[in-house]
Symmetry: C2
Subunit: 434 residues, 2 copies
């Protein structure tokens, strides 16, 4: 994100006393549950995940009934056909949600890990032990499968979660959370470990964001406007990325066929995602050969090209790029293309205009690869690989609750471990400081 | 910190255009320097630290001359005798500052560490590599030795730093930073790696706090009011602790002599520091024996005791504690004392009223020790050891820039490693996602 586009203050009017009271009680219940969760045995959490998975499948019919209420209202909310399809639950999709919980049960429990430890001269024993963050406030889009997935990830990592799902899926989410809660009571997990915000009032979000004493982290998913509002208003840390203006840089020593394939994949494999490529930089020494080949492939795939003064001469039908193009995440069939004089210029362009999300170099030159990975200030830097690989499952995290472009706490895909912190435990035998 | 004492909005009037421009230029210069620092060889940074140490000693006379200007103005600033003493530099103290830099040179460089890495099925190689945070904005009290120390820690960890020292030490700090800058130019360290804010205008702080795009972290040291203002206004992450309301809990199975010694040390060894004990909790089953013995020792040391209804009956001359006492960091010769019915009650009291900083249990019971360390939600939990041990040098960090009571990013003492983040580096050979 370039300078000058800092968060707009999107504060809404204050919440009513009833909503404020509801939010406070919900957060206090989550805090109390978090203290119980912090000492819960891994096997209890895993038993809940497996029990909930089976219970969701057993509740397929009532869940589908509730989902039909959401589908019936979807047109009123102006959802697109694609969004309605993502909202729809059937037996296969509920089974897939259940499988997701079973997979989380199989992941190692991050809580309790001794990160490091040593004994000091004099005998004081110092340990750094991994512990849960505490309470997670999770704000997400209207896909009901995310409800179960987020609940599973948070509780497995020892955190209580307050789920604020989109109003478009509220009946489906309530039905899923009801099943999760019943399983929790069966399995010895605190009932307030997973709470769904029952009001869809937008003021509730602002109210929760003010409760920094009770909520340890907020994770917003959705459009950039929502995430900027959350980041500006939150009184607690936020795990987030605003956008994904990802670059592929084709170095002078690139294999052109490899570059064409990587750019095609990074741009076209899924256009609407945060790790898709939005901008292409090409070294001037290879531009005359690389740009026509890349442009041909992208044009075949229906991608519109916006090119700078030098690049445009090698491309049929390209539009001239404006300065705004360099900062734009198109999330669709458009790409910006610029010619750069050096690898250093490419890195400077990426650091200035990019999102610090995912950026790639295509090169056969070892020193160029090293320099690029050092200079580019992004969560993930790819060498001869598509930007599309920045993903929790690809990185082996097993489950992912979001991707962070911040440098603080967690960077890149965030899984179970990124929802933890540590505490120092110091053991003495009457030790005093002199 | 209890609920209801959330940050007060302490915004001041807007900065003048000149100050705003100065802050922006300073931050942009720091950002540019940070990109150079990120790829600087450890040996270059160490050479600078050693060179600067020698240069500071060589500049003893001019530094003392500048220090005398600060001392001459100290009375006008209303500094206490103790504060004036901390401000004073002589040859021995300048030598000690130099030794501090030499010690930082000897610490391992955290930058470049491969935190973890693996090869995925299909051959994609994934590394998590430790990298600097980037730009640190450091706000601190009027001790000139902190100027050199913070500069050394930040640059050693690959970060550019903007130093905002107290006006009371501005001449001394300028003299020190001048020497550091000259050494930087000799040794190949970017000259803007260390910048001292030249204006003592308070509005400059607010202006820097608005530059979240250019500054990666703010670290404020000083009074609670300042830190709350910084936390409320900052648009970037803050490493901080507001206060240190630290507890010692004497369990029913405690060795009373050990408890007396630990409490005396935790309360009295240094009264004005954040890891001093401010509140004592005693299990009801040991209260009749433990409280008189503890009270006797504390009274001998001149500590005033504020006790709850039960504790007061065992203490001569105690005052009744009010609810406010449980939340109070006295930073002086006062302690609050309460009797609790169980270890769980003690942990609940600490989590409610404490600062999540440092809390200790005295016990001979293994299960009690384990339960306490799990339940108490603090940066450091001590077993049979004084709270005074929560400290970077005790924990083996080698150098410390602050102590965090937050759970995000870094908790407890923060040294070189806590000023870093990581990036994912992914190496393929033309890999695309299918």
């Amino acid at each position: 994100m370039p300078l000058g586009t800092l968060p707009v203050n999107m504060s809404t009017t204050a919440a009513t006393p009833e909503i404020a009271q509801y939010c406070l009680q919900t957060a206090e219940a989550a805090r109390a549950a978090s203290y119980q969760l912090a000492s819960l045995d891994a096997e209890v959490k895993n038993r809940w995940l497996r029990h909930a998975a089976a219970a969701l499948v057993a509740a397929t019919d009532p869940i589908i009934q509730e989902n039909e209420k959401d589908l019936a209202a979807a047109a009123d909310y102006g959802l697109t056909d694609a969004a309605i399809d993502r909202l729809r639950l059937d037996a296969a999709r509920i089974k897939s949600i259940a499988t997701g919980l079973e997979e989380i049960a199989m992941l190692p429990d991050p809580v309790g890990e001794v990160i490091e430890g040593h004994t000091r001269p004099g005998g004081l024993q110092i340990l750094k032990r991994r512990v849960p963050l505490g309470v997670v406030f999770f704000i997400y889009e209207s896909r009901p499968n995310v409800t179960a997935d987020a609940a599973g990830i948070c509780v497995k990592s020892g955190n209580a979660v307050i789920l604020r799902g989109g109003k478009e899926a509220i009946h489906s989410s309530k039905a899923i959370v009801k099943v999760l809660g019943e399983s929790a009571q069966e399995c010895g997990v605190p009932k307030d470990a997973v709470q769904l915000v029952s009001t869809t009032d937008r003021q509730a979000v602002g109210e929760f964001l003010s409760l920094g004493e009770l909520i340890d982290v907020t994770i917003p998913r959705g459009g950039e406007g929502l995430i900027r509002r959350v980041a500006a208003e939150a009184t607690m840390p936020v795990i987030k990325h605003f956008d994904g203006n990802c670059h592929v840089y084709v170095d002078q020593d690139a294999d052109i066929e490899m570059a064409v394939n990587i750019i095609e994949n990074a741009k076209c494999q899924r256009m609407g995602v945060c790790n898709a490529c939005e901008s292409l930089l090409v070294h001037e020494k290879i531009a005359a050969d690389a740009i026509p080949a890349i442009a041909k492939r992208l044009t075949e795939r229906g991608v519109e090209i916006r090119a700078d003064e030098r690049a445009i001469s090698w491309i049929d039908n390209a539009l001239p790029a404006t300065d705004e193009d360099w900062s734009t995440e198109y999330l669709g069939p458009t790409i910006s293309v610029a010619v750069v004089g050096s690898l250093q210029d490419a890195a400077a362009h990426i650091n200035r205009y990019g999102s610090h999300h995912t950026d790639a170099i295509v090169t056969g030159d070892l020193r160029a690869a090293e320099t690029f990975t050092t200079l580019v200030d992004s969560a993930a830097v790819m060498v001869n690989a598509s930007t599309r690989f920045n993903d929790g499952s690809v990185f082996g995290l097993g489950a992912e609750i979001g991707i962070s472009t911040d440098k603080f706490h967690a960077r890149g895909p965030c899984g179970l471990r990124e929802l933890t912190t540590y505490k120092y435990i110091v053991r003495g035998d009457g030790h005093v400081r002199t």
